[in-house]
Amino acid sequence: MKDAVLPRPSRRRVEADHPPYDVTAVAAVLERWAGTPGNLLPVLHDVQAALGHVPPGCVAQIARALNRSRAEVHGVISFYHDFRRQPAGRHVLKVCQAESCQATGGRALTARLEQLLGCGLGETSADGAVTLEAVYCLGNCACSPAMMLDGRLFGRVTEAAAERLLAEARQDA
């Protein structure tokens, strides 16, 4: 194959198309993990912790620092359901969908949460307060049904208790 026969097509710079993000924060994360073998997941976790999500624009910055391609970094981000490519609501509510919770009213609990928030799993309520996410087991199966609000675990969750927690969460902005 002789590439020289054909001119190489010109291309746009896509990096510029992404919304701006905090480059310094990402640089600090990359600095922290520099030289650690297999550091892409820790980097992505820390970027998400710092910025609330992994902005598409930072993929090029991460790729350059780790000597990987944007495709590789994007492939990894899109594989893992934890990594968000857009910001979440002010609160994140993860509700368990797995068997132990199914056996104890988890389906009804999820339906009630969807009704209260007016959004489905994977969506954010219209007021931007709460992002509702599915999770497959929180290891709290002895006290099912379970959910996690902003990293805080709740067990034996009744619909009434969920309603109270949501009301509290939606109040503080």
């Binding site: 026969v5 190489r8 896509v14 944007r70 495709a71 994007h74 899109s78």
Partner: protein, 243 residues
């Protein structure tokens, strides 16, 4: 540009790269064959003149083990190992053609066809079409279901186009980009049923890290990635509105 490479298909594709090791003798469907240690059962089968059908394997790339049509039976072993990822052992007795294997292969082919444009099953030419012909499976019994048939064609690159509807997610293009070209411009986006070949961050090929080397096109077993020059009158479904 790639026509001379297409001609290579006339040669034998042993499925996995050759190895350099001590001689190992085994039998494939009763035919004795000697290959280098470290070779795959798939390579031995091809060398014995008993080639196994394959989709994700080609001898220009390392074995991957994803397509599951190259299953074989090995005497004394349980199950149906993939021949591409199983190394040869001395005295191994491999069977490539049993009713049970035919049944499983047909089952896997049905799954492929359940997410492949029906109008392209017959009359096309590609490695997938060869496997369709070899296995005799050209339809499926799943009825209409979730699929990728409406995914838009990417014709941004002047030389080739990518029709995701015909993609079987074998990753040959992704691997060719990495192993042959060293560019790493392609990846699989998402996982499970949502898995999709994309360039860079899911952008048009022309805007991506792709350098238009053509390794992916050469590697594609379904003509999902295909040279534009083959479609002088324009690609049939390049515009979904006209499809």
């Amino acid at each position: 540009m790639w026509s001379e490479l297409r001609a290579l298909r006339e040669d034998v594709d042993y499925g996995t790269p050759p190895r350099d090791g001590e001689a190992v003798t085994l039998t494939v469907d009763g035919v004795p064959v000697t290959v280098a240690a470290g070779s795959s059962v798939m390579l031995a089968a091809a060398a014995a003149g008993r080639p196994v059908v394959k989709l994700c394997a080609t001898d220009m790339l390392e074995a991957f083990g994803s397509c599951r049509v190259c299953l074989v039976e090995i005497e004394g072993r349980r199950g149906f190992p993939a021949s591409c990822t199983t190394p040869v052992e001395p005295g191994m007795a491999v069977r490539t053609d049993t009713p049970r294997l035919a049944e499983l292969r047909a089952g896997v082919m049905e799954l492929y066809l359940s997410d492949f444009p029906a109008e392209d099953v017959l009359g096309g030419w590609s490695e997938l079409h060869e496997v369709i012909a070899t296995t005799g499976v050209s339809s499926h019994r799943y009825g209409p279901g979730e699929n990728h048939l409406a995914a838009p064609v990417d014709d941004s690159n002047p030389y080739f186009l990518f029709d995701p509807a015909k993609c079987i997610v074998c990753s040959r293009c992704v691997r060719a980009c990495e192993e042959v070209q060293g560019t790493f411009a392609l990846t699989i986006q998402g996982r499970g049923f949502e898995s999709k070949v994309v360039a860079s961050q899911g952008e048009p090929f022309l805007d991506s890290e792709c350098v238009s080397c053509g390794a992916c096109v050469q590697a594609c077993p379904t003509q999902s990635l295909v040279e534009k020059s083959l479609f002088e009158g324009g690609y049939r479904s390049a515009d979904p509105a006209q499809a």
